[in-house]
Chain length 465, copies 2
């Protein structure tokens, strides 16, 4: 697409400028005042233009259980989640639509979906998500969530001997599914990417990680994983490897500049150095980390060590939303209580950079997206500065990041295509989506999870509760 | 007003029931299925009815500087704030309108405005805020912010000798203003209340506190104050009194069941017992506390000790919004990282109780508002459960509190009068408010604060930075 946004506010260094932005063949071609009009024109007056953000870690199907999950730490929460996981492919499709819409309407133009696979219907699950993301038009990074150990293996044994059922599918079969998914769905130029994404050291063998590394190298795929989300996982890594999880992942070669790691809460200073050396990316999911009581990721230390950091909403059962602006706000101000020296705190402009360029770096696409730079793809978001939540006029980026913006995304383009116009997603029917979500659900209160009943006593023992 | 809300969802114990709610003469008269219709009918289907929440601490005029304040700790932030404080009474009026609207559209039907007074125009400032709150129709608790020491006195001296300018107005003159405000504006039956509200021990003499206690007793006024928001204030209390601020306030008689205290971060276990014994209320302002790096208030300890806790947004320059649902969400999940035992964590239903009944208790009106109880005034909020942000249907209260509700307040009544209908505030013209906020402001970037330049070196020394 060719288009020109006229008289729009952009941020350069410490000032705001009013400029025109030309997009030619889906790429940013010029940024300057008073440009010639090329293609369609858009009125940018009283609007702020920013690069699209990346929702760098989520699990779309968790949307079906948002609001109802017990107030639990990760290990028990996960047991409850899986007891009530939806299996229906249409639901997978609908929650991917919902995830895309909420991400878009909060400034995100890319989403990393660490997608929970329906057993026996793995490729169909991925197909359902791909269909949703293609329909909406958001840039999709689908990271099929895989493991080869059963859920109970994710909790440290402590002094007891714990036996775990074998996982229902072999490591080799799992890797075959991922390879097949790559062949069927990995189309970076069309905005659909497949990542290798073992869920984490707590439920994956070295063979699974190594197989993923091979696939990543063969097909040039990014790598994703959870990393040290809880104190229990820190203990488990010591039990399993006799070293930290980061040291182990480095040893087996999983880290690198195409690797993004969700959470990263329980790392020590040596681990942080390893992330910096390997140029790995940390995906910060502050709301989930608070909701599950996982802890505060040492984000200021990462930034000081030169580690790339981006933001994620995490799945909507542990958040319980996909509002990226909320994750960015809380993920920025949360760290002010971890360091008395305010000179180290994250500024709103830094938050924007982390959410856009930081996200792009973690997905190895910083050359293509993540900033308002000539030659980059037009993944752009236009914010309406006449929204009550962005008034009075002060510092637009300051208020966007530190306020609570509501209905502020006026337009969004992904790869040069406009998918939000005048505050509405124009590629799908939102009313129909709401109706489908409504019809396929019911109001209820707390449920009893048999798996939680099974593991809670052991969990409390291990955590000294 | 008389009206009947039909077929509405309410929460009772661990279940949701569909009922009718009758309001007669502005009071809740009956709650049961299939009631006779009295007065106007409202369709409650697919909606959730909750008591209105209390925005239990804010400073409305800070709206003018939201988004632009430097990323500073309280003491420096305050110096910057006052260097750029607006003086214009029309601005005071407009920001009170904005504060009321954002509070209402996020579930609040009452607001405590710790109102910054324009020097020399103190009663006019209060009059401007009263006018705004009366126009909107929100229940207003106006707490004129007073002090009798100059700003620099709020920072500990440490080993240096600090001289402070005397405050521009005498203690007696300040107390006279408050008494006059009570006479002119304190009309509890009309929804306008005046509170005594010394800003805090950091800038107030004992004479000012004592004078406020006398006024509070004479006119039956609630008491409000900031308390131990920062580590610097904890140090200052020791310098000033040789004991903790809580011990001192107890000694001079400021604490009690009509006293609400904003922040309460740096309290020790003895202090917490004193708050419980005196039945004082803690107002938790989690977003401001993170933004300013003040710390995490020990809310789980307060709840365990039996201290009443409510939620506030704090002023919009330290938040930078007046969205009460955001403050409730973060103020609930934030504490999960402070206690490994999830059995102590705050559930969404508890959050609702804190935000409604907790707020009412802190203002000595728990007999009148704060719950869906027969005989209480109709301060009610109806949430639209077909909003995308409250779908799919799961646990409505869980999703309202833990999600990121957007445009969910369908209707709101204060004292039986409907002031939000079909998602719109119907008492004032919101477009005109937006236009006024727009016209009286301009986009800008960071400013230089002369007061910060004066005190920063001393502040860094005192805080060992």
């Amino acid at each position: 697409m060719n288009f020109t946004i006229q008289n729009v506010l952009i941020s350069i260094d410490d000032a705001y400028l009013t400029v025109d932005v030309q997009v030619v063949n889906d790429k940013i071609a010029a940024i300057a005042p008073n440009l010639d009009v090329i293609g369609t024109t858009f009125d940018g007056s009283n609007k702020l233009l920013l690069p699209g953000f990346v929702n760098a870690h989520t699990h779309s199907s968790e949307m079906w259980q948002r609001g109802i999950m017990s107030i639990f730490p990760l290990e028990l929460w996960l047991a409850e989640l899986y007891d009530f996981a939806p299996l229906d492919l249409e639901k997978v499709y609908l929650s991917a639509l919902g995830t895309a819409v909420e991400t878009l309407l909060s400034g995100g133009t890319s989403v990393v979906d660490h997608l929970v696979l329906t057993p026996g219907l793995e490729l169909e699950t991925i197909a359902a998500a791909v269909r949703a993301y293609r329909e909406v038009g958001i840039r999709a990074f689908i990271a099929p969530l895989i493991q080869d150990e059963s859920l109970s293996a994710g909790i440290p044994s402590g002094k007891s001997v714990q036996n775990h059922d074998p996982y229902f599918r072999s490591t080799a079969a799992t890797l075959q599914i991922i390879e097949e998914a790559v062949k069927q769905f990995h189309r970076p130029d069309e905005g659909v990417n497949i990542l290798v994404a073992p869920t984490g050291i707590q439920l994956c063998s070295d063979a699974l990680f190594t197989g993923c590394i091979e696939l990543s190298d063969r097909y040039n795929l990014c790598r994703h994983s959870h990393l040290l989300e809880t104190k229990a996982q820190e203990k488990l890594a010591q039990e399993k490897y006799g070293c930290t999880a980061v040291e182990h992942l480095q040893r087996i070669g999983y880290l690198g500049d195409r690797t993004s790691l969700a959470h990263c809460i329980w790392l020590n200073d040596t681990d942080i150095k390893i992330l910096a050396q390997t140029q790995s990316t940390v995906v910060h999911n502050p709301l989930s980390n608070l909701r599950l009581g996982s802890g505060i990721a040492p984000i200021l230390k990462y930034l000081q060590a030169g580690v790339n950091v981006s933001f994620g909403c995490d799945g909507a059962s542990s958040n319980d939303s996909q509002d990226l602006l909320e994750a960015i706000k809380i993920g920025s101000i949360l760290h002010n209580i971890t360091d008395l020296d305010y000179q180290n705190w994250i500024t709103p402009k830094k938050s924007v950079e982390m959410a856009s360029l930081g996200g792009a770096k973690g997905l190895n696409v910083a050359e293509k997206i993540g900033s308002l730079s000539l030659g980059k793809q037009a993944d752009l978001v236009l914010y309406d500065l006449t929204s009550l939540s962005l008034l009075p006029r002060t510092d637009p980026i300051g208020l966007l990041i530190l306020g609570r913006p509501t209905n502020v995304v006026h337009s969004a383009w992904v790869n040069g295509k406009q998918i939000v116009s005048n505050h509405h997603v124009n590629t799908i029917n939102i009313d129909k989506l709401r109706q489908e979500l409504f019809n396929r659900s019911q109001w209820e209160t707390k449920r009893k999870s048999p798996s939680v009943a099974q593991i809670e006593t052991h969990y409390r023992q291990i955590m000294d509760l």
